[in-house]
Symmetry: C2
Subunit: 315 residues, 2 copies
């Protein structure tokens, strides 16, 4: 372990800022041990996912540190949500550099504390190091699901309906708004900074396949289709979009492409053979699973749209 460059030593940093995020979880041992411990509920299996966020690539170093921390945790919780899992804790590996101040870290830890409480998801362990590169955050989220009841990418069947949660495109349009490509839509920017992991939907036993939309609707539905050995048709007119996104496309139809292919939604796309029971978030049928491969998007006239970009690439 190397020492962080802030005026706090590594041990101070851990004790002052991160140990409180364990919320007394017994397996965290106050972050004073080499490892974390976790008891899995009887009849359940562990679900584990890890995502790295690099400053300048996945977030901007000028973004508010509390929002960066919350996004880093939330994109991982979104993967747990896609599997129908319940979060039980997380590990946090942070690579600092000389430009990261104590004030930055304090705000960062405060943001993490907000979501530790919001999702009842304690910090269980981690590593703090430093290097010459950009601030890099790797979070490993731990969840549990009833044994054998996880929803995979690979279960979609011909004839299934394709659903999405929430509204699509807000994350990508929020980034466009933040970058000045699009006028300022505060709600979209907020969606980009603080995605909402769709936990607790009860998809286990209902969805045949599921993933979260991080690379873009068309690209991610493509991933689901490839894993399942099927194809999908999406009707653009059925895609749920927010009022702000609708305002953007009313100004310029070009934003449709960003809605279809932009990333950072962190909504769920899933397939099911039947109608979906009432859930705590809106769920919309946007298409269907067919035989073949690839994803076709139909416009209002039933014509196939040709997309120049099918998946968002982070810079």
């Amino acid at each position: 372990m190397s020492r962080p460059p802030s005026s706090m030593g590594e041990f101070d940093l851990i004790a002052r800022l991160f140990a409180p995020l364990t919320k007394g979880a017994p397996g965290a041992h106050g972050l004073r041990d080499d490892a974390a411990f976790l008891q899995v509920s009887p009849g359940h299996e562990m679900v584990l996912t890890t995502d790295t966020l690099v400053a300048g690539v996945h977030f901007r170093i000028e973004d508010a540190p509390d929002l960066v921390a919350r996004k880093a945790l939330r994109v991982n919780l979104s993967d747990l949500a896609a599997k129908g899992a319940k979060p039980v804790g997380f590990l946090h590996a942070l690579t600092l550099n000389d430009s990261i101040t104590d004030a930055y870290l304090e705000k960062y830890a405060a943001g993490l504390a907000t979501d530790v409480a919001a999702f009842a998801c304690p910090l269980l362990g981690g590593d703090t190091t430093s290097g010459p590169g950009p601030l890099t955050i790797t979070i490993t989220a731990l969840g549990e699901v009833e044994t054998g009841k996880a929803v995979l990418r690979s279960g979609a069947k011909v004839g299934d309906i394709l659903y999405v949660t929430g509204t699509i495109g807000d994350g990508a349009l929020g980034l466009a708004s933040l970058m000045g490509e699009l006028q300022t839509f505060a709600a979209l920017i907020d969606r980009y900074h603080v995605p909402q992991p769709r936990l607790g939907l009860g998809l286990s036993g209902i969805a045949s396949a599921c993933l979260d939309i991080s690379d873009g609707l068309v690209a991610d539905v493509g991933h689901l289709c490839r894993a399942s050995g099927v194809a999908a048709v999406i009707e653009r007119a059925k895609i749920p979009v927010s009022i702000d996104a609708r305002a953007a496309v009313a100004q310029d139809q070009k934003w449709w492409e960003r809605i279809l292919a932009g990333g950072d939604d962190y909504e769920l796309a899933f397939t099911a053979s039947s109608a979906i029971p009432e859930t705590n978030v809106s769920v919309t049928a946007i298409g269907r699973v067919i035989a073949g491969n690839g994803v076709t998007v139909l416009d209002e006239n039933g014509e196939s749209l040709s997309l120049t970009v099918t998946g968002y690439r982070h810079r």
Copy 2:
């Protein structure tokens, strides 16, 4: 997820180089899902540890890529060993940059494959991203231990004997040898590149406290003492050193300090109230636990040594 800069796309990279490392583990789903799944053995709890290695800080970019990969996995397995846990798999988050070639990645994956086999520890999931900074590797190792039987840092009692495994100082002297500070000792350089996690010692139920020596013997025994609320006395003459390390100190006594305070040993330091049964690696009593705080090292005449550096700081 962003795309790596190598000529392989992210999906190719995962399918070609990393999917084989899952060894068919059912919870890995061939790395084609968003998350990994793991069933914990009945009567066991999960043990989790994460460590980040940054090029230019924790390893040199000119080091052989297969050795870098093996070290990244082994330092994590060493933490599991210190808790008396059995490895069951790992997650692998890799941040690449434009200078990392396909050839580098192929060698890297081959090294990882060697140790996946050696430790029967499959890859279960991960993330591959890229950025402008140095190659950064975060591994999260997953283990299991009988519920309630983990060995913590915090259980050392006054009167316990202090033990270490293997030989001490080889890692730090290996680095000195590699950097040209010390003549070339191939065996020490090898120890630095490929540490040996001391798994399977059966310390559970025997050791009262344990950790692995990554920051240096004196610093790490200090961590154990602080967590346990005790102090320790180490007799320098009892510290097990290799033939090469003995040759180094015969040339210049100054290398003693590196042996005592250098890092990268990844041997275990542990305390126990009784003698230790025969194990698969040499175990040496080097001191004892006393009341108070801090670590005292006594020389051959029983005089307290003053150390100018008590813990190794990675650059």
